[in-house]
Symmetry: C2
Subunit: 316 residues, 2 copies
C-alpha cells in the first residue's frame, strides 16, 4: 500500500472513473494509474471498481466502504504537512476560503482586510461558488473554510459553526408605492413583480416558505445568484428586489431604497464550515475568530474533532 495508490483511487472517484483524466490530474501516465489501482485491489483482494468490459463505471460495495477511509488517510497526510509548516513558518502559508457571493462581497471584506494586515505572508485564496460548490470544495480539501447560509450542515464530513444571523430587505426605486405604506406586508409586496435569489441561494427558501404559508404565489420575474445583479435590475425598474439586508449600503446605493423585511421572512443563519478532522494552521483560527468572534479557537478545535451528529455548544 502506498500513497500514490490511494491518490489514484481518490482521483478516480473524483474524475468519474475516467482513468485518462485521473492520469492528467495526477501528472502521470494512464497505464501508471491503471496499475496503481489494480495493485491496491490485488493487495486488498477485492475489486474496488465495477468494470464493464475494460472501463470502470462505478464503485463496488467494498469500494463504497473503502473510499472514505482512503480520503481520510490522504487528508491526514495533508494534516501532517500542515503540522510541519505550522512550526517552520508560523506566519506563512495559504488560507483558502470558499464562500458564496453574498458572503464574499458583504460579510468577508472586513475580516479579510484585518487578516491581510496581520498575516501579510499568508496567501489568501478566495473561491466563490454556490452553497453546494462551497461544500464540495471543503470536502475535496480545496478550501480550508467555507462560509455559506445553506448546504454546509448537510454533509457528515463537515462541521457547520454558526456565524451570524441576518434577515432580508426589500429594495425599491425611490418614490416606489411600497415606501408609502407604514408597514410592509406580504400581500402588498406580492402586488409587484419580484426579483430575488435563485433557488438554493441566500435564504431563498425562507422567502418561498413565507409566501407559501400565506397562500400567495409571488410574481418572480427574475432570479439571480447575487444581490448586485438583483439591484441592477431593480434600478432598471423590472421589479422590487428581496435581498439580504447586509447587501444594501445606503451610501453606495443612493438610487435605491431599502425597506426592512425582517418581520416577513424567517431569520437566516450563516455558517462557517470546516472538514472534520482537519489540522488547521494557527492563523486559520485567528481568521475565524476575526470573522465571527464567538468562534474561539478552543471551540472550533472541539467542533473539528467532533463526530457527525454530535453537538458542540453553538453548533447544530
Amino acid at each position: 500500500m502506498n500513497f500514490q495508490q490511494l491518490r489514484s483511487i481518490r482521483e478516480a472517484v473524483r474524475q468519474k472513473f475516467n482513468l485518462t483524466d485521473v492520469a492528467r490530474a495526477l501528472h502521470t501516465s494512464q497505464p501508471g494509474v491503471s496499475r496503481q489501482i489494480r495493485e491496491l485491489e490485488d493487495e486488498l483482494g477485492v475489486d474496488l471498481f465495477v468494470r464493464e468490459g475494460k472501463r470502470l463505471t462505478s464503485l463496488t460495495e467494498v469500494g463504497v466502504l473503502v473510499v472514505p477511509i482512503v480520503e481520510k488517510m490522504l487528508n491526514d497526510a495533508d494534516n501532517l504537512r500542515r503540522a510541519g509548516q505550522e512550526f517552520t513558518q508560523k506566519t506563512r502559508g495559504r488560507l483558502s476560503i470558499a464562500a458564496t457571493h453574498s458572503q464574499a462581497r458583504y460579510a468577508l471584506p472586513g475580516a479579510v482586510k484585518d487578516f491581510r494586515r496581520r498575516y501579510p505572508h499568508v496567501a489568501l485564496n478566495l473561491h466563490q461558488g454556490s452553497p453546494d460548490q462551497v461544500a464540495g470544495m471543503l470536502i475535496s480539501g480545496e478550501a480550508d473554510i467555507g462560509i455559506a447560509t445553506e448546504a454546509l450542515s448537510l454533509h457528515d464530513s463537515l462541521v457547520a459553526l454558526p456565524c451570524y444571523r441576518w434577515t432580508h430587505s426589500v429594495i425599491v426605486t425611490p418614490g416606489h408605492p411600497l415606501l408609502a405604506w407604514p408597514t410592509l406586508t406580504l400581500e402588498r409586496l406580492s402586488e409587484h413583480p419580484i426579483i430575488t435569489y435563485n433557488e438554493g441561494f441566500t435564504g431563498r427558501l425562507h422567502i418561498d416558505r413565507a409566501f407559501a404559508k400565506q397562500g400567495i404565489t409571488p410574481d418572480l420575474v427574475l432570479t439571480a445568484m447575487d444581490a448586485d445583479v438583483i439591484k441592477t435590475y431593480v434600478e432598471l425598474g423590472l421589479g422590487v428586489g428581496i435581498v439580504a439586508s447586509i447587501a444594501f449600503d445606503e451610501a453606495r446605493d443612493q438610487n435605491l431604497r431599502a425597506i426592512d423585511a425582517g418581520h416577513l421572512f424567517a431569520v437566516n443563519l450563516t455558517k462557517l464550515g470546516i472538514r472534520r478532522g482537519s489540522f488547521l494552521r494557527g492563523y486559520v483560527y485567528d481568521f475565524i475568530e476575526t470573522f465571527a468572534s464567538p468562534l474561539k479557537r478552543e471551540l472550533v478545535e472541539r467542533a473539528v474533532a467532533s463526530a457527525p451528529g454530535e453537538c458542540v455548544e453553538l453548533d447544530c
Copy 2:
C-alpha cells in the same frame, strides 16, 4: 511520504526512541530506520525527535502533534485491509481479545464458545493482562476489543461500552465464624485478615473506598491479580477473600463458602473497549453482541465513530 516512514515514527515512540530496537521490531536494518525518520523530518521541514548528540531521547513539540496523526493513518491502513477481508472471506480472519484475568476466566468463556461454533475459521486470540495492559493493547492495535472493569474509559482514543454490573462476595472456609452472622458488615469482616485483588484490579478501588468511608483499616494480608490465587490462599486458611461474585462457583468450589457482599461495596461496571475509528469485521460485532446483548451492531458502530467526550446512549 510513505508508510514505511510512518511505521518507523510510530515504532520509534513505542520502542522508547531506540532505533536499533525499532529496526528489530520492523524486521529491517537500523540505518534504514534512521533514514526513514530523517526523510520524513526533511519532508515536513521539522525535527520530530529531540536528539542529544546522536541519540533520540524524546518527541519535539511538533512530534507530539504529529505522532497521533501518524497513528491514525496507520490504523486506517489496517482498516482498509480489514474492509477488504470482510468481503473476500466473511467468516475467516482473526479476533484478538484483550481481557483481565477475571473476564477471561469467568465472563468470556460462554461467548467464546458460542463464537467458536459460529465462526470456526476465525482465529481467536485471547490476551490477558492488567487493565492498563488491556488498554495499551487496544491503543497499539494488538487487540480488537478489550474487556475490563478499570482503565478503559481513561484514554481518549478508546470508547468504553458498558457490558454488565457485578458486585463482590466474601469467600471463607466452611465453618468460618463469619458464616454465623445473619448479615455481613464491614466491621465484622475487618476482624479477619483479608485476601483480595491488587490495586487497580477488579473493583479493588471500591473495596478500599468502602473501608475508608467507615474509617476502618482492613488487614490486607495478601493481594493477588486473580480470584483463583485468592481462593487458593483462602483455602489454606490465610484469611477471608473478597472476590467478584462471578468468580465463585458452588459446584467447583466445594471446600469454600461465599457470602454476598453486594451491600458492602459499590457496584462495579465491566466495560468493553474499542479503539475509536476502527473498522471492525462483521464477526466482531457478532461477538460483542453475544457477550453483551444490549451492544447491538448499530450502537457499537456509532460509539466507534464518536468523538472523545461524546455520549452514545449506554456509554459514559
